[in-house]
């Protein structure tokens, strides 16, 4: 399946744009997504940490991703 990953803050700079499209296996998990992302954008590994959000919720590594989910990469937040 093809998914789009939204990017913000430092991750937008790492991607060079505000979203990227990726090919993932149909039963891919958040863990698999992070693996693919870090392979294509190794600078992600230099972040203090980052999370994946699925449909506006923080996701766990084992959570499955579906084709129409809204996926975003959440680098360390610093609001307030």
């Amino acid at each position: 399946m093809n998914i789009k990953v939204l990017a913000f803050g430092i991750s937008k700079e790492i991607f060079g744009r505000s979203s990227v499209n990726l090919e993932l296996a149909n039963d891919a998990t958040v863990y698999n997504l992070k693996y693919v992302l870090e392979h294509q954008y190794p600078r992600l590994k230099q972040l203090a940490s980052y999370m994946i959000a699925v449909n506006n919720e923080y996701a766990l590594p084992g959570d499955t991703i579906h084709e129409r989910d809204e996926i975003a990469i959440i680098p360390p937040v610093s609001g307030g």
Partner: protein, 139 residues
């Protein structure tokens, strides 16, 4: 839950926040106002830029407000957060909490800002004379 949670690209207004939070039922109101400091770790800051993943940021702030209502007997919660370019002295965030008694207002207000800084997907870039940095991005 009596809440107002909003993200603004224009300057925040303290008076409109406090106008909304006040009510005949409340006895104590605590208001936290974040302001852009002119220096960070001793280094002069020129300005800040805030970016939000808006739908998720709203959802996370609503979760925080819900937790505050569960933990303390508070009456109203307001969270206003700015995005965009902020000069020194401008206001990134206003949090206002009303309660019958002040202890709950203080506890909830502090919980909300502490939790917001940990969980809400909003990012701050500090712009210095000689460069810029996304706060907390790197170890």
């Amino acid at each position: 839950m009596n809440t107002v949670i909003k993200i603004f690209s224009a300057p925040l207004n303290i008076q409109s926040a406090t106008d909304w939070i006040m009510s005949p039922e409340s006895g104590g109101i605590d208001v936290f106002i974040g302001t852009v400091r002119n220096a960070t770790k001793g280094k002069p800051v020129i300005r800040l830029e805030f970016e939000a993943y808006e739908p998720m940021a709203i959802a996370e702030m609503e979760k925080i407000a819900k937790q505050a209502f569960e933990k303390w007997p508070v009456q109203k919660i307001l969270i206003h957060h700015r995005t965009g370019v902020l000069e020194v002295g401008e206001i990134p965030v206003i949090i206002a909490v009303s309660a019958a008694h002040r202890a709950a207002a203080f506890d909830a207000c502090r919980f909300i800002i502490d939790t917001l800084k940990q969980t809400v997907p909003i990012w701050k870039k500090e712009i210095f004379e000689d460069g810029e940095v996304w706060v907390a991005a790197h170890p």
